[in-house]
Amino acid sequence: MKSLSVKLFAKARDLVGSPTVELPWSDGETVAALKQRLSEQCPDLKPLVPRLLVAVNNNYAADDCVLKTTDEVACFPPVSGG
């Protein structure tokens, strides 16, 4: 099975304890599946998952967006720059 590399930032990275996480992945799966997978594989991240934003190739992605293992995928909490 292929794997999807997911970058993590800010509190998401701190909770997981790593700047990236590798998830088993089948082409055709969506952002919603990614969030489900993250909750299972990283229990410490679970409380933050409902608020996580997902970015695909530098754009925000909705729950029904399909992810390929070649995509650049990132997960992070609501932004607080400025």
Partner: protein
């Protein structure tokens, strides 16, 4: 705006390129250079916004902030914001820089400079850019409170006890 002309025999191709002045830095922000970069005789108005590290947030005392970014996406989103602003106001030049890393009280975290023919446009465009930056550009701050604790800031506030317990259960 830079005008590039390519001449092929009797054909001339003209490209108008908006010069982007967008950056992320770990060094102190030189807002003077940033402001000079947007000044021009075509524009009667320059507005500069500086965000600085404030001592009190909702009554709690901050001693420092740490900023983290997702640099590639942050730059892409800032360029999108610039284009969105240019589509709404007759902007001459825009420069935006956000600092990352450890910032002390009073340090400048972000600077937005914009020049327009008239002042109302420059104020509106400047406010639009910083407002949108704060909701769409992937940068995060972590508070270093005076009591020694640290806390990531993310809109929507801290996780509720129920959410945390739910995760543990």
């Amino acid at each position: 705006m830079v005008c590039v002309c390519l001449v092929f025999g009797s054909w001339t191709l003209v490209f108008l390129i908006n010069t982007t002045m967008i950056s992320l830095t770990h060094e102190p922000i030189d807002y003077h250079s940033l402001t000079e970069a947007v000044r021009s005789p075509q524009s009667g108005a320059v507005v500069l916004f500086l965000g600085t590290v404030r001592e009190l947030t909702a009554g709690r005392q901050t001693v420092a902030l740490d900023y983290e970014g997702y640099p590639e996406m942050a730059r892409a989103k800032l360029e999108e914001l610039e284009q969105a602003a240019r589509s709404r106001w007759p902007i001459d030049k825009v420069a935006i820089v956000h600092r990352l890393g450890h910032l002390e009280l009073g340090d400048i975290s972000v600077a937005v400079a914009v020049s327009c023919p008239h002042r109302k446009q420059a104020f509106e465009a400047g406010q639009f850019l910083i407002d949108e930056l704060k909701v769409s550009v992937p940068i995060w701050k972590r508070e270093n409170w005076a009591d020694g604790s640290t806390e990531w800031v993310h809109p929507g506030g801290e996780m509720t006890k129920g959410e945390i317990d739910g995760a543990k259960g």
